[in-house]
Amino acid sequence: MTLKTPPVARPLGVAQPSPVGTARTLLLAGVLLCLLTVGMTGFAAYLTITVAETGVWKTALGAATLVVVVLALLTARPLISGFRQQVASTTAAEAGDLVSARKFRARAAQSGWTALGSCLPLMFIATFTMFLLANDHAVQTTFFDAQFMAQSVGDVTVAFGENIKIALLAEAFVLVWALVIALARLAPSKAGRPLRWLATAYVDVFRAIPSIIVIYLVGFGLPLAGVPILSEMGPMWSAVLALTLTYGAYVAEVYRAGIEGIHWSQVSAARSLGLSYGKTMRHVIVPQAVRKVTPPLLNDFIGLQKDTALVTIIGTVDAFTQAKMYSSNYFNLSSVTVVAILFIIITIPQTRFVDRLLERDARRQLSKG
């Protein structure tokens, strides 16, 4: 049997090719922004070289800003190639080769966006440089006085050892203490109920109190109350205790999430082999949970490390305390900037490490499908 209905006529519009369009506006915007960037970076470089104080800073910042100017000039490169592609596109369109015209137009637009994307961070750098040099480079001398930074860096770094000591000790205690709390929160059966309540109350309370308050209360309160042993710990151990209490609550929740995230069939498998609840936890569940929660746990540890700066309120001589002594003597905050830089130095590798762990886990999840 043959089809009797005639084929439906296609509407005219469909047969017409989609328009080629143009990247001209985008490229023009790119040119404007490029010129602005070159101007700003040039001005920033000029300011740096003329205004900034002499010595190390002048050379270093001057060189750095000149590099930025060169980079700003380099943003013209994608613009030039963008214009070339645009010309090619127009030529192709006139010759009737719409496929090529669209291709060159797309490349031109891509070049335009590349130029815009490169300009923005450079403008940010230029603005920041001008901020530093504002008010006859007052900002720079307040926060980044090279000479003063060099003068304070030795003592501040030595005092930073105290932060690291407090952090490492607290982290070691937190690892154990938080696991105890997590297991108590998950204590099984009716008999475990009071334990669960107690652990829940602990977590609720210590997650609610700001760590600076806990440090203050432990550091000043315990000696004031004259509690035996606890009152004679000294500020360093008070800080370790306070941070362990606070971060123990956070990390306990991390552990708990990890333990609850292990599929119940693992418990079935372990129990069916005759392992008791405790042995199941110890050999099967907790080892898997710890592996799972390593990234969030390290994140909490980074938070803990930064909170070691809070111990300054109870008179522990840490990096921040030391830096404040310098800054109040010289009316200059550059020593505190040194502390900030030290924290950045120890923290960034750890955050990158956490990112890598997370990526690895994501890949594993994917490969399991």
Binding site: S265, Q266, R271, S272, L273, G274, K279, V284
Partner: protein, 247 residues
């Protein structure tokens, strides 16, 4: 007297009854296969025997001793009754050897060297000795399930429960697992298994029990159940199985 007895066992989740009076006897060295539709209670029954689930009525006896209800020593029961699951449930953070030796070392107190020797012997038997140091995610499904069987056997159980152990496997991997079960049955191990592998059940089982909505509707030698099922529901079930080309 049967070695493993289930007498009028009842089990419900909240108000939803799953087992409604199951009576089933397994003699020593026997292989009993449980067949029936998904959700009929086969897996729950096996989990009850291993005390992974508690029961609300009836009792379960092993070698004459009641092993269900309050006050029983579940850990000592589980030393005698091994179970292998549909989804393998190997411990992913341990090597094959560690998976197999964990409970002999931690529960039975076998010295590590002896436990490892026994584990290697068992792994050799199932053809996986060279995988002893591999992690579960490096193994195929069939290999993982063979390791899971070895892990249960390492405790020298008197009864082995197999819960649809081939259901999660790709078709071409089923045989390697069933061959091991066939081997164990020939050696005289007492086996209670839930399965959808009807031809295997017909070949290996001493008794086949058809479970329907939490009761044993019909049981007997495989020739009777598969050849001349009495109950119309059994007939209907087997008809569907045959239509699917599984028997």
């Amino acid at each position: 007297m049967a070695f493993l007895e289930l007498n009028d066992v009842e089990k419900s989740y909240a108000t939803n009854p799953v087992l409604r009076g199951i009576t089933l006897h397994v003699a020593k060295h026997q292989v009993v296969c449980l067949i029936g539709a998904s959700g009929c209670g086969k897996s729950t029954l096996l989990r009850c025997v291993n005390a992974l689930e508690d029961i609300q009525g009836g009792d379960i006896r092993l070698d004459g001793d009641v092993v269900s209800g309050e006050g029983i020593d579940v850990n000592s029961l589980r030393r005698k009754v091994g179970i292998v699951f549909q989804s393998f449930n190997l411990f992913p953070h341990m090597t094959v050897l560690q998976n197999v030796t964990l409970s002999p070392i931690r529960v039975l107190g076998v010295p590590r060297a002896d436990a490892e020797k026994q584990a290697i012997a068992l792994l050799t038997r199932v053809g996986l000795a060279e995988k002893a140091d591999a992690y579960p995610d490096q193994l195929s499904g069939g290999q993982q399930q063979r390791v899971a069987i070895v892990r249960a056997l390492a405790m020298n159980p008197e009864v082995l429960l197999l819960d649809e152990i081939t259901s999660a496997l790709d078709p071409e991997l089923v045989a390697e697992v069933l061959n091991i079960v066939r081997d164990l049955a020939a050696d005289g191990l007492t086996i209670l298994m839930a399965t959808h592998e009807m031809s295997f059940a017909r070949e290996v089982a001493d008794t086949v029990a058809y479970i329907h909505e939490g009761t044993v509707l019909e049981q007997g030698p495989p020739a009777d159940i598969f050849g001349a099922p009495q109950h119309e529901r059994t007939q209907a079930f087997l008809k569907k199985i045959i239509e699917a080309g599984r028997l």
